[in-house]
Every structure is written in C-alpha cells, then in structure tokens.
Amino acid sequence: MSAPLLEVVDVAKRFSAGTRFSRQGVRIVHALDGVSFTVMPGETLGLVGESGCGKSTLGRCITRLYDLTSGTLRFAGTDISALSQRQMRPMRRRIQMVFQDPYASLNPRRRVRDLIAEPLRVHTGMSEAEISKRIAELLDIVGLKPDHAMRFPHEFSGGQRQRIGIARAIALNPELIVLDEPVSALDVSVQAQIVNLLADLQERLNLTYIFIAHDLSVVRQVSTRIAVMYLGSIVEMGSADDIFSRPAHPYTQALISAVPVPDLAAQGSTKRIVLTGDVPSPVNPPSGCRFHTRCPIAQDRCRSERPVLVPSAPQRSVACHFPTC
C-alpha cells in the first residue's frame, strides 16, 4: 500500500467571537475539535454534515487558508501545519481549492484568460506564449471554447463559471484539490455535468479530491470514502458503500433517512428518523457525546463520556458508545 497523500492528525480550530466589550464577552467557537484522517492518492474523500458542522473550516485548514489552532497536517510526508505563508507557497501548486459560489470566487473585472493565467504567472516562469497555449488547453479540458478566454465572468452561466474555477484549480497540475460544495449552487441538470467533469479529470490527471457537500446523493456518487461530521468532529468514517448501506452512527442513520428520495417505489421501505431540535451552538458544545441532545438512543454514559473515533471494522470507524453495527 502506498503512503497517504494527506494526513490530518488531531486538528482543532477555534475562532473567537465578539470582543471584551460585547455583552457575553469574548466567546470561543469550537469549529473543529480532534479531527484525524488520512487521504490516499487517487481517492475521493467526501466530507458531509449539516451547516455549521465544520466541514468548510476543515477544507480551509487543509489548504492553509486558515491557521490551525492545534494539530498536525502532513502533505506527502511534509509537515505543513506550521509553515509560514511564504514557506507554504511552493505547496500551493500541489494543493488547490474550488469554491462553492462561482459568482463570488471569480473577480468580475478580469477576463477569463487572466483569471486562469494568474496561478501560472505566480508559480511558473512560463512565457506569455506558453501561458496562452496552456489556457487554450485548460479551456478545452473543462469543456469551454477557446473564444471564451477573452470574456468576463458575468457572461457565463453558473455551470460555466464553475468550469472556469476548475480550470484555474487544475492549471498547475496539483495533486490534491479541495472542492467546497462545488455543485450546490447549480441546477440539477447542470450539477450532473460538473460531477461527470470532475470524475473525468480525476481519472485523466490522477487527482485526489476532498469533496465537501451537504447533498448526500452527490457525495455518494463521487466519493470513495466518506467522513460524516457533526459539530466539529468526525462521527463516522468508512467506504461510501458501507456508510450508505450500513450506517453505524445514529446521526448518520438519521441524516441518510432524512433525504427525500425521488423514487416512489422506494418510499415507505425505510423508516424516516426525524431528529428533534437543532444543532447545538459550537460556542458551548454539549458535554459527553456532542450528539446526545438529539440522539434517539442516548444513555447516561453519552451525557458524560465523549466517545472517540475507533475502528469498528477494516476501513471503518465510528465515534459512538452504542453503534448499531
């Protein structure tokens, strides 16, 4: 077995909110708490969870857009968790990111060719002629036309803008791409095009993906393995098939059962678990298991003792005192 491309060890990220003059004083938001996993080259790790679970924060920590509060990030064997922004620069060629909102992540005043050329100008010594050639090549790879290069972002539809964002991310031949909700702002018919494009690119360019999304059916489609997050921690991790066919954590079960299925035949075959209440605030997370306030099978032990993510089967781990399988 080859070495992991990315190792995330016990990563925590805390933000402070408010000032000492606010009514509640300075509050600490526990966005990520004790997150560990590895990503193998060529695989797609899906990160799922509801809003506020920390999945986007994790993506931004991995790309070092945020500094970690504690923990270690190792990329291809190198510890990148404490590198300065300057030291990080050569690493950025190898780790790229695609953002959710293709309207907000492209500078409206720059032409497509300049948007895609920027990483090439910053990181390579390519001549203008070489850059032009590379841009034409990239546009072709992501399914855009050569004459699109001179246009501005507002001239494109949402799906096409996301293609521009992807072209920019693959411009430097990265090894790892963190995709933060890349299809959730798109219409279903266009969403499928982008999912297919990402799959093609992965095969063609030998890419490794971390795919962050809240849409479970999309995550199942693209992922090799899936990590389910709740309130800043991973509660369950395993292969995509295992997570969906035999979810072990009560939260994963509830999450999967809550997805409305566009298939009349399948309806009624599964019992929907409706969770009560909302996700608690990460400012003041519950004691013990963070899910106990909404868990249908919570016991006394869950309120006091925090379960750790332990392997329950090969390639499978669950953070629950009473996992179902």
């Binding site: 279903v188 999912v195 489609q221 995509a240 409305p260 409706v274 909302d278 996700v279």
Partner: protein, 316 residues
C-alpha cells in the same frame, strides 16, 4: 378553487421584453397539494407571485386570468387584493430571514397580521400568536413570542413564517421553496409539520421546489416548468413512473441515486437552460433534447388532458 388560464408575465427590460411566464394554465382543487418543479428561471416563482398579486414592478405586464373561487385576481384593486392576501391566500417564502422584519419580535409580527384581517382584541391576537407557535412545534411558545428573528435558527424561523401564513386559516397556501435553505434533518421536520398542518387545516397548497425528492414525498399532482412554460402535468405517480416529456425524464435521470448500484457517469442534460431574452424558436428544450426531430422547430402545445406533455414525441 384556483383556476389559472393563459397566464403570461412579461417584463420590459433594457435588453428587450422578457417573457418570464408564457401562457401557463393550471387548476388547484380544494385541499390539494400541487407541486411545481423547474430549474432556476423556469418561471415557477414568478407565476405564483402573480397569483399572490405581488408583482408590483411597473415594467411587468400580466395577462390571462387567475380565478380564485370565482373571483378574478388579474386586475383586482390592490385594496381588495390586500384583504384577500394573508387571509385566504397566504405565502411561505424561501428565505425566512428576509421574510421577517429584524426589528420586531416574532409575536408582534404574527399578531399584526391577525389584527389586520380580523376584528379581535390585541390580547386575543397575542394569544393567537402563542397558540400558532405551539402548533408549529416551537418549544416554549410563551417565551418565544418575545424573541427577535436573529435569535432563532433557520428551521425555527421557517416555522415562524409558517405560523404567520397559517394565522388566518388560509384556504390556499403558496410555499416557495420553503425547505431549500434548510439542512436535511430540519427539512424533514418541516415536511412532517406541513403534513400535519395539512391534515388539521385542510388548506390547498401550491408547493414550488426544484427538488424532485421533496416532490415525490408530498405532492398530489405536479407541474413541470421549463423556460416559462408548463411542459408536463399529471399526478405524482404519472410523472415519476411514466414521465412523458423528455425533459422530465432527463431531470429524473440526472439525479444521483441514494441506493443501489452507482452509475459510472451521471446522465447529465447537455447545455444550459435558455436565456429568456433569446428564447429558441419552437420547443425551448429542443436544443438540449436527445429525442428532437424535424417537428421540434415548431412550438408544441400542452394537451388538455389531466396528464399531458408539450412534446411532439408524445402527441405523435
């Protein structure tokens, strides 16, 4: 109870006329849940805003007929429309944060609506607000009435918006993507709640969504819209089990499945929805359709049947 005939909404813009809704006809029966699906820009929201009399843009031209229990709503005096809206026809919006005013408590906002439509005392209206919050499962309604929208989570805010819509026991409820902004577990709670309220109040509901999964769960009958027109109509069973229009089929096929074998590739619909400023001649879906043939350069009509599709492949 609601009869919409040949409704068209056209906006005058600097670039030209945009026909956002084009000869749309549909009916809603008493107590029925009609689902309207379509992608962004398909005209689903605009056609229902027209029903609500909420298109106030002076550059909008509304033609056709909207009859609610025999009363014509197109061209109705704003004053009469105001008396109807909120009382008999109510709306739930997609984004509960913008649907609520941030500067008043939620109790005040619900009571205001009740006072506008009914001759009751302030205290009774306040009590009604508390009862409504209890009905939409807001914990501790006595205290919750004093809260401001920013103090509530997204799911709670959507419950408040629903409570407000229900405050006068409307006969028709228009829900515009009420769960799209919510997480799935919260969406499940809200869909459960709508089921319960439908049983208790018997209101007819028009539910707009782009999520076929939500549709499969709640709709009785459905309309599929594309580029401002209705391309297919039928019962939920007809649409899911035997979709007639190639667009409906393609839409269902492009959704990744949650169970069973994973397809190697998703069956995506090529291209993008048309720009309404520059609508293709003939069938608007033809440029993206794998089943197009010569006839598609003309415009297909939607048949009159209960289950019909605007497609030459179907009528042929």
């Amino acid at each position: 109870m609601l009869k919409v005939r040949k409704l068209s909404v056209t906006f005058r813009t600097e670039q030209g006329m945009v026909q956002a809704v084009d000869h749309v006809s549909f009916d809603v029966g008493e107590g029925e849940l009609l689902g309207v699906v379509g992608e962004s820009g398909s005209g689903k929201t605009v056609s229902l805003l027209a029903v609500m009399g909420l298109i106030t843009d002076p550059n909008a031209v509304i033609t056709g007929s909207i009859q609610y229990r025999g009363r014509e709503l197109v061209g109705m005096k704003p004053r009469d429309m105001r008396a109807l809206r909120g009382k008999e026809i109510a709306m739930i919006f997609q984004d509960p944060m913008t649907a609520l005013t941030p500067v008043y408590t939620i109790g005040w906002q619900i009571a205001e609506q009740v006072l506008a439509h009914e001759k009751i005392s302030k205290a009774a209206a306040w009590q009604r607000a508390i009862d409504l919050l209890a009905e939409v499962n807001i914990p501790n309604p006595q205290e919750a009435v004093h809260r401001y929208p920013h103090q509530l989570s997204g799911g709670m805010r959507q419950r408040v918006v629903i409570a407000m819509a229900l405050s006068c026991n409307p006969a028709l409820l228009v829900a515009d993507e009420p769960t799209t902004a919510l997480d799935v577990t919260v969406q499940a709670q809200i869909l459960d709640l709508l089921h319960k309220l439908r049983r208790n109040h018997g209101s007819a509901i028009v539910f707009i969504t782009h999520d076929m999964g939500v549709m499969a769960e709640i709709a009785d009958r459905m309309l599929v819209m594309y580029a401002g027109r209705v391309v297919e109509r039928g019962t939920k069973e007809e649409l899911f089990l035997q979709p007639l229009h190639p667009y409906t089929r393609a839409l269902l096929d492009s959704i990744p499945p949650l169970t069973g074998e994973k397809p190697k590739r998703l069956r995506a619909i090529p291209g993008t929805p048309p720009n309404l400023l520059n609508r293709p001649l003939g069938c608007a879906f033809a440029p993206r359709c794998i089943e197009r043939f010569e006839k598609c350069s003309a415009e297909p009509a939607l048949g009159d049947g209960k289950n019909a599709a605007a497609c030459f492949r179907v009528s042929a």
